[in-house]
Structure formats: structure tokens, C-alpha cells
């Protein structure tokens, strides 16, 4: 097990190193060939060539590429992501609150999508082709079909805006001026945990719907598969209750697969929740990245890419390790 952990951690470090090179190369070298010039962007539309050159010098963009990369890497090793061209502050001070905001959104949504998907999926696997299963599968198809860029403004409109006009889902059943949820905005957990949750309820639901739909199908299929295995038939023959079979036998066999999926999906969601963040004005990683791209703020863009990579690598490493814990066969393979 120890060897497996070491190998996985070593792999994670190498992956991160490759990502830093790729990110730096993409934004500091390749981007220059597209004609994008942060110095020109900062110097202004009517700035002279001399002014642009001066700004480039101040930003250190006039140095040879290898020097720029070594400076960048040297800073990174010390946890310094550099300095934002536009916000005049350390990139880490921009990324940390953004990561917190995105993590709040994604982890909260993950709790919701699992809470929805686990019972519906398990029920579908247990009672295939029942009315409950048909309804559950219908919901799953519906949830998977809705693009999040459409769902986000719709949820905001129907559950945040319409109540202020005395309606909900178009029905005039509320007093005019009712505020159920805020239309936009975000409050940091450290500032006020209640307001934090209140501002995130709709974004959580928005993000959770699509993932819940996918998980319903996964859990249903895995549950049905496991229920047809010999060991469940044996457990049933020995008089074990359905609840016990599901929790103690099927659950243990479904868990490793679900853990892998969850790790990958949380990592994907962490770096891909831009639409939800934009519609609900949550200053998360996606939002910060796009804002930085608008301003050619390369240190911030690179920082966002690296943080997303760290999250993805960490999530996958944790999942792999957890998988090893949950599935003894993997430990044995790693030991060989």
C-alpha cells in the first residue's frame, strides 16, 4: 500500500510539472504568436511603440523566454503564482478566494446530486421497469438533456426573479415582492455561513441537476448488475433484508466505481462551472479565468490553469488511493 501511495504521489508531481510547462508555454510563448500583447493592452489603444516597450520591460516580458520560465518556476516552487498585470496584487490572493468560491459551489452541488441520485438509482436497480424506475429514468434523461447555460438563467428567472413579481413557475400564488432567493451574488462562508448557503442554493441545484441525472443512470445500472450476482442471491437465500443487501453488499461493490466517477466529475466541475458562476455572479475560478483572459492577464490565467490542474490531479490521486482502500484487489495489484 505504501508503495502504491508513493508511486501515485510521484506521478502526481510529474503531472503537475508537465502542466506548469504546458501552461506557461501556452500563455507566454504561443499566445505571443497570435499577436496578443499584454503590454499593448495595458499601455492603451493609442500608446506609442516606446510606451508599449516600456510596459513590456516593467512586466519582464522583454526577457528571453528561458529566463522568464525560470523566474516563473522559481516563484511557483515557493508558492508564488506571480503578480497580476491588471489587479496589481499577488495572483495567489486572487486564486485563493476564487478556489474557495468554486469549491463551495461544486462540493455543495456534489452533495445534492449524490443525495438525489443514490436513492433514485438504487430504487431503479432494485425494481427495474417499475413505475418509480420509469419516472426516475425519465427524470435522468430530462436532466441530461438540459444544457447548463440554459438551465442556470431559467432557474434564476423562475425561482429568484418571478417570486419578486408575485409568481413562481408562472403561477400568481405569492405576495408581490416576495424574495425567495437572490438573483445574483455570493457571500463568503467566513463572512456569514447562513448567507453563504442562502446565496448558493440555486447555483447548487443548477449544477447538481445534470450530474444527478448521470449518476441516477450509473447507480441504477451498477445496482442492477450487482443484484444479479451470485453473492446477492446467496445473501437473499440466507434471509438478508433488502436494506442489508443494498447497504452491506451491493453498496460496497458499487462504491469503488462511484468514487472514481465522483473524483473525476468533481475535478471536471471545479474547472468547468463557468456558466453557473457567470449567471449567479459567483467569483469562482472559471469566472476569474475569463476575466483574466479579457485583460490578457497571463499570470492569473496561468494560475487558474495550474490550480485547476492541481485540483484534477489531487482529486484523481485521492480517488485512486481511496479506490485502493475500497477495493482490496487493487492493493494486491499495486503490491506486485
Amino acid at each position: 500500500m505504501r508503495r502504491m501511495i508513493l508511486r501515485r504521489l510521484m506521478g502526481a508531481v510529474i503531472q503537475l510539472f508537465v502542466v506548469t510547462i504546458a501552461a506557461w508555454f501556452l500563455f507566454y510563448v504561443i499566445a505571443r504568436f497570435t499577436g496578443a500583447s499584454p503590454a499593448q493592452r495595458i499601455a492603451g489603444k493609442t500608446a506609442s511603440a516606446a510606451q508599449i516597450a516600456l510596459v513590456a520591460k516593467l512586466l519582464g516580458l522583454n526577457k528571453p523566454y528561458w529566463q522568464q520560465y525560470l523566474i516563473f518556476l522559481g516563484h511557483l516552487v515557493h508558492g508564488n503564482f506571480g503578480y497580476s498585470y491588471f489587479q496589481d496584487r499577488a495572483v495567489s490572493s486572487i486564486l485563493w478566494p476564487a478556489t474557495r468560491a468554486t469549491a463551495s459551489l461544486v462540493l455543495g452541488a456534489a452533495v445534492i446530486w449524490l443525495a438525489i441520485a443514490a436513492p433514485i438509482g438504487a430504487y431503479g436497480g432494485l425494481r427495474p421497469r417499475s413505475i418509480g424506475d420509469v419516472v426516475g429514468r425519465g427524470l435522468a434523461i430530462f436532466g441530461m438533456s438540459i444544457p447548463v447555460f440554459w438551465l442556470a438563467p431559467m432557474i434564476s428567472y423562475f425561482f429568484a426573479f418571478q417570486p419578486t413579481q408575485g409568481r413562481i413557475l408562472g403561477l400568481p400564488i405569492l405576495p408581490h415582492g416576495t424574495t425567495l432567493f437572490p438573483i445574483t451574488g455570493y457571500v463568503d462562508f467566513g463572512q456569514n455561513p447562513i448567507e453563504w448557503a442562502y446565496h448558493l442554493i440555486l447555483p447548487w441545484i443548477t449544477l447538481a441537476i445534470g450530474f444527478a441525472a448521470v449518476y441516477i443512470r450509473y447507480i441504477r445500472t451498477l445496482t442492477a448488475e450487482q443484484l444479479s450476482e451470485d453473492y446477492t442471491r446467496t445473501a437473499k437465500a440466507k434471509g438478508a433484508s433488502t436494506r442489508r443487501i443494498l447497504l452491506h453488499h451491493v453498496g460496497r461493490n458499487v462504491a469503488p466505481t462511484m468514487t472514481v466517477l465522483l473524483g473525476a466529475d468533481v475535478a471536471t466541475a471545479l474547472s468547468g462551472v463557468f456558466f453557473v458562476e457567470t449567471v449567479f455572479s459567483i467569483p469562482g475560478l472559471g469566472w476569474t479565468g475569463v476575466y483574466a483572459i479579457e485583460n490578457l492577464d497571463y499570470p492569473v490565467i496561468t494560475g487558474v490553469v495550474i490550480v485547476c490542474a492541481i485540483i484534477a490531479v489531487l482529486a484523481n490521486t485521492i480517488v485512486d488511493l481511496l479506490h485502493g482502500v475500497l477495493d482490496p484487489r487493487l492493493r494486491r495489484v499495486a503490491a506486485r
Binding site: 506609442s48 455572479s281 469566472w287 475569463v290
Partner: protein
């Protein structure tokens, strides 16, 4: 499995927390962020207004560097420049009135402008603003490390070219006395008054570091307008607070205690928040769909305001890329494009007006003429192409931004229009930040591109001279690289002229440029829409700043 109880507890706790929040919020009907109970009227100062701002709307909060429309709107609230624009709507709002100084005394030869500071001019920390501070302000805004492009406007101040280039540390063309400041020019500049009202001339005290300070610490202490910066969290929130050290004798301005801007709000979401009375205004233009919805709703008639902008969206035609160096080809393009259809991609008649001239109607030097049609005249266009002697088909690229609504569609319409006269276009779209740095680079040799241009001050000089002065064809803003030397005297004459002669000169120059050169293919003048809350009073759109005037806003009782 031992951890199951703890997981269950956490899940239950989160659900309970969510339910509690839901219950609490449902009980608190009408508790929007902007529903302050206190009301204010002009003359009083109370209440908080809440506005929305798009991400990326603030370029910098350095008072001598800012350049975006939103930051100029903030500048109008935070700063009192030597002279400023009147706080009234429409073209009257482009009238210059005393600011920290009286209107200047101009020498008979038009080469000296003397501004006398008014008593009461001081920073928000109570420190008086001195002529030395004003001179330092101009030196700072023109310093190469600070200048974002407006320093160029003061090239005619004695010693400015060397100072702007960084080869001189002194600026002999600005002298001071105990209570006045004089600008000595090397040639007449008919727009000089406007230039001394630019938001980048926002006063800073002597000794302010000659390095950019983008996060607003200067305005927290050294604001000179009716508001000062209370706090700024980049990408999150900006708060202006009433400046108690602002002397209302300089002009009765500022009627609310605070203005809070929530940053990163989508325009469409901001509109919903205004409808829900959770927001008072938005610094972004209304989205096209919202213009159609809101402007036709009688319930919002008093809350929707449309204004002419000092802006033009145009197609630049690069003189350095054949066959666009051929005047007949440029004219043919102007005859072939469908301006009405192009403008429709922006939002149709409510959102803009097709135009074939360079100067927008919002500027004082505008005079209506018609040379090129709004819908294609292909007969004339094909005739001009034949006369040009250029062999068709021609393959060229058209470049524009792909991250703002409408621009790629406009390029598609132009592509379709020009195919009819044998010009095959390849559309190249990049985000605005990338696009502007490409077309601003003379080495890119971009054949043509769609660009919006907003005048820095309400005078044709800010569009014609800045965007196409033929003496500097490689100036970054001269995207057409227009360099026909025979036009230089006409440009210089218009730039130096004053009063009625100036208006006549620019009207003529605008006409001559389009009729003889077809320097651009002007497309349309956009219209600005604001949708404000029902409790917001004193709405004024400042044409000079291309933004809401925050100094006139108050909360209706």
C-alpha cells in the same frame, strides 16, 4: 464504513442549513439589497444606491491612467478636474463649466491658457489642491510609465514631446503661481479646453508615486469630487462614499451617502434585479433582448432612458494593403455594404442608427450628409470596381472581436455583401483584448476590421484627428494607416480653429474624407440604454463620459 454516521451527520447538517436559509429568506419578503428605507432629495445626502458592473469593466483605478467608459463614469464622481462638464442631459451636458478652477483666460494668440484655482478646491482628506498639484498631475499623466494614451493630447504643450518620450524630466510648458496654472502651447489647439477636462487629469498631490497604482488607494485619500472611494475588491465590489470634504460651492453635486457597485453581474441578470427592485442601475448597456422587452413595456416607461453616444462603429480599410490603397475600391466597398443589415446584427433601429459619416451626431461638429446609401447600390459599386482597374476576385481578411455580441455576425454580413463585387473575405475573430493588440500593431497589416470608437471628448478632433491624422499613418489608433499628405493642412487647420470656424472646418473635413477618400466605411452609431429602478431619481447620462452621471442621482421619497 465507520465514517458513515459522520457523513450522514454532515449531509443532514447541510440540508438543515439549506432549509433554515430557505425559511429565513422566505420570511423576509422584499429584502433586496438596494431597498434602503431612507430617502434623499437633491440637496440632502442619504441612502445607498446599488449598481451592477460587468467583469472587466474597470481597467485601472489610477486617476491618471483610467480609460474605460465605466472608470470614466467613476472618475466623474471621484474627481473634479480643472474644468468639467455640466451635470445635465443631452448635448447641453457637453458644455464646460468651472471645476477646481474657473474657465481659463486664453491669450489673444491662443497659445496660453491660464486657469485660476477656486477657493474650496481640496482633496477628500481636507488638503487644499494647489497649482503645484495640478502641474504634478499633468506631469504624472504624461509620464511614460503612467500614460495610457491621453498624454498624446498634450503634445502641443511646450516641452511635451521630449517629456512624453522620456528624454526630458521637465515640462517647461506648464507654469504656476500661488493660485494659477498656465499652459504654454507651441501651436493653437481648438480642443485644448476639452483636453483639460479629461478624466485622466484628475488631480493628485505632489509626490504621488510615478508608478501605476491600479487598486484605488489614491482615491481613498485624494478624491476631489463629490464622492471618494470607500473600498474596492477587484472583481467583487466597489463602494463610493460621499466626500464630506467636497465644497458644494464648486457645484452642488452628490446626493446619496453611498453607491455600491456589484462587479461581475451579467447585463440580463442585472435587468431582472432592477425589475425586482434589488438593484438601481447597471453600468452596462441593456442587452438587445432587454431593449426590445423593456422599452415596449409601458410599466417601465419612466425607468428606461435612451441616449445618443459619442460613438461610431466602423469598418477600417488599410491603405497599406492592396487593393485597399485604391480609392475606387474603398468607395465601392462603401456602396456595396448593407449598413441597415449590419446594424440589425447589433440590435436594429432601437439599438443604433446606420451612418455613412465619421463624426457621430452626439458631437458638436456633426452635420448630416449622405454620400453612401444604407442599403447596397451594387450598380455603382461594380462600376467603381471596374474603374479601379483591380482584377477580381480579391481575397482579403476581415478581423473583428468574437467575444461581444453582434460583431462576428456583422463581419458575416460584410463578407456576403462584398462577395457581390468580387471581394472574398475570410472572417478572423479573436477576443477583444487580442484583437485590439493585433490591429493596433502596424506590422500586422490587417486589411480591414470592424471597430467601435468612442470619442474621448465631445469634439470631432477626438475621432478624426486621433483616429486618422495623415501625418502619423502608423499611430496605433490610425487603423486605416491613412497617410495622404495633402490632407495634413486641412487636419491642422481644423484642429487649431475655434468656435464656429472649427465646427465648419470639421464638417467639411468629415465630408471630404468620405467623399474623396472613403477612409473608412462607417457603419452605425450605437444608442445607449439605461434601465433604472423606480426609486432612482436624477438620472442623467453624460455624453461626455459615455456613462451615467452619479453626481445627480438621488433616492426618490
Amino acid at each position: 464504513m465507520r465514517k458513515l454516521p459522520s457523513r450522514r451527520w454532515r449531509r443532514n447538517a447541510i440540508i438543515a442549513l439549506g432549509c433554515l436559509a430557505l425559511t429565513l429568506s422566505a420570511c423576509s419578503s422584499s429584502s433586496g439589497s438596494s431597498t434602503t428605507t431612507s430617502a434623499s432629495k437633491p440637496g440632502g445626502v442619504s441612502g445607498t444606491l446599488t449598481g451592477a458592473m460587468a467583469s472587466g469593466a474597470i481597467d485601472t483605478l489610477d486617476p491618471n491612467r483610467w480609460y474605460f467608459a465605466v472608470t470614466w463614469g467613476l472618475a466623474n464622481a471621484i474627481c473634479t478636474t480643472l474644468i468639467r462638464y455640466a451635470d445635465v442631459a443631452g448635448t447641453a451636458g457637453t458644455t464646460l463649466v468651472p471645476g477646481t478652477a474657473n474657465l481659463p483666460v486664453i491669450s489673444k494668440n491662443g497659445l496660453e491658457y491660464t486657469y485660476t484655482l477656486r477657493p474650496g478646491a481640496r482633496f477628500s482628506n481636507g488638503q487644499p489642491i494647489t497649482p503645484a498639484d495640478i502641474k504634478y498631475t499633468f506631469m504624472r499623466l504624461m509620464a511614460p510609465a503612467i500614460d495610457t494614451g491621453t498624454g498624446y493630447y498634450f503634445t502641443l504643450v511646450k516641452g511635451a514631446p521630449a517629456y512624453l518620450a522620456g528624454t526630458s524630466k521637465t515640462l517647461p510648458g506648464i507654469t504656476t503661481t500661488a493660485n494659477s496654472i498656465t499652459f504654454h502651447l507651441t501651436a493653437q489647439d481648438g480642443a485644448f479646453l476639452y483636453k483639460t477636462a479629461l478624466p485622466t487629469t484628475c488631480p493628485v498631490p505632489v509626490g504621488t508615486p510615478m508608478i501605476p497604482e491600479n487598486n484605488g488607494t489614491i482615491e481613498e485619500t485624494y478624491a476631489s469630487g463629490p464622492f471618494k472611494l470607500q473600498s474596492y475588491s477587484p472583481g467583487r465590489q466597489l463602494v463610493l462614499a460621499f466626500n464630506t470634504n467636497y465644497d458644494q460651492a464648486l457645484g452642488v453635486r452628490g446626493h446619496v451617502a453611498k453607491i455600491q457597485f456589484n462587479i461581475g453581474v451579467l447585463s440580463t441578470q442585472a435587468t431582472l434585479e432592477i425589475e425586482a427592485n434589488q438593484l438601481d442601475f447597471n453600468t452596462s448597456n441593456l442587452a438587445t433582448a432587454d431593449i426590445l422587452k423593456i422599452s415596449h413595456d409601458p410599466a417601465y416607461a419612466s425607468q428606461v432612458h435612451s441616449s445618443e453616444r459619442p460613438d461610431i462603429t466602423y469598418l477600417f480599410l488599410n491603405y497599406e494593403v492592396p487593393p485597399l490603397n485604391n480609392v475606387d475600391v474603398r468607395k465601392a466597398i462603401n456602396f456595396a455594404i448593407n449598413r441597415t443589415q449590419i446594424e440589425a446584427q447589433w440590435g436594429g433601429p432601437l439599438a443604433g442608427t446606420p451612418t455613412d459619416q465619421i463624426v457621430p451626431p452626439a458631437l458638436v461638429d456633426y452635420k448630416k450628409y449622405t454620400i453612401y446609401p444604407n442599403t447596397p447600390n451594387l450598380t455603382e459599386a461594380k462600376k467603381l470596381m471596374a474603374e479601379s482597374g483591380v482584377k477580381t476576385p480579391i481575397n482579403l481578411a476581415i478581423r473583428t472581436q468574437n467575444d461581444a455580441p453582434g460583431f462576428m455576425n456583422m463581419a458575416a454580413v460584410i463578407k456576403s455583401n462584398l462577395a457581390a463585387i468580387g471581394i472574398n473575405l475570410t472572417v478572423e475573430g479573436t477576443p477583444n483584448s487580442v484583437n485590439s493588440s493585433i490591429i493596433g500593431n502596424p506590422k500586422s497589416h490587417t486589411p480591414m476590421g470592424i471597430e467601435p470608437w468612442s470619442a474621448d471628448f465631445p469634439d470631432a478632433d477626438a475621432i478624426i484627428n486621433t483616429g486618422m491624422y495623415p501625418g502619423t499613418p502608423n499611430f496605433p489608433g490610425n487603423f486605416s494607416h491613412f497617410g495622404v499628405a495633402s490632407f495634413v493642412p486641412e487636419f491642422n487647420q481644423a484642429a487649431a480653429a475655434l468656435g464656429a470656424a472649427r465646427v465648419a472646418d470639421y464638417e467639411k473635413l468629415d465630408y471630404n474624407l468620405m467623399s474623396q477618400q472613403a477612409t473608412y466605411a462607417p457603419l452605425f452609431n450605437p444608442i445607449w440604454y439605461d434601465f433604472v429602478s423606480s426609486r432612482l431619481g436624477g438620472y442623467v447620462y453624460s455624453e461626455a463620459m459615455d456613462a451615467i452621471n452619479y453626481n445627480t442621482l438621488y433616492i426618490k421619497s
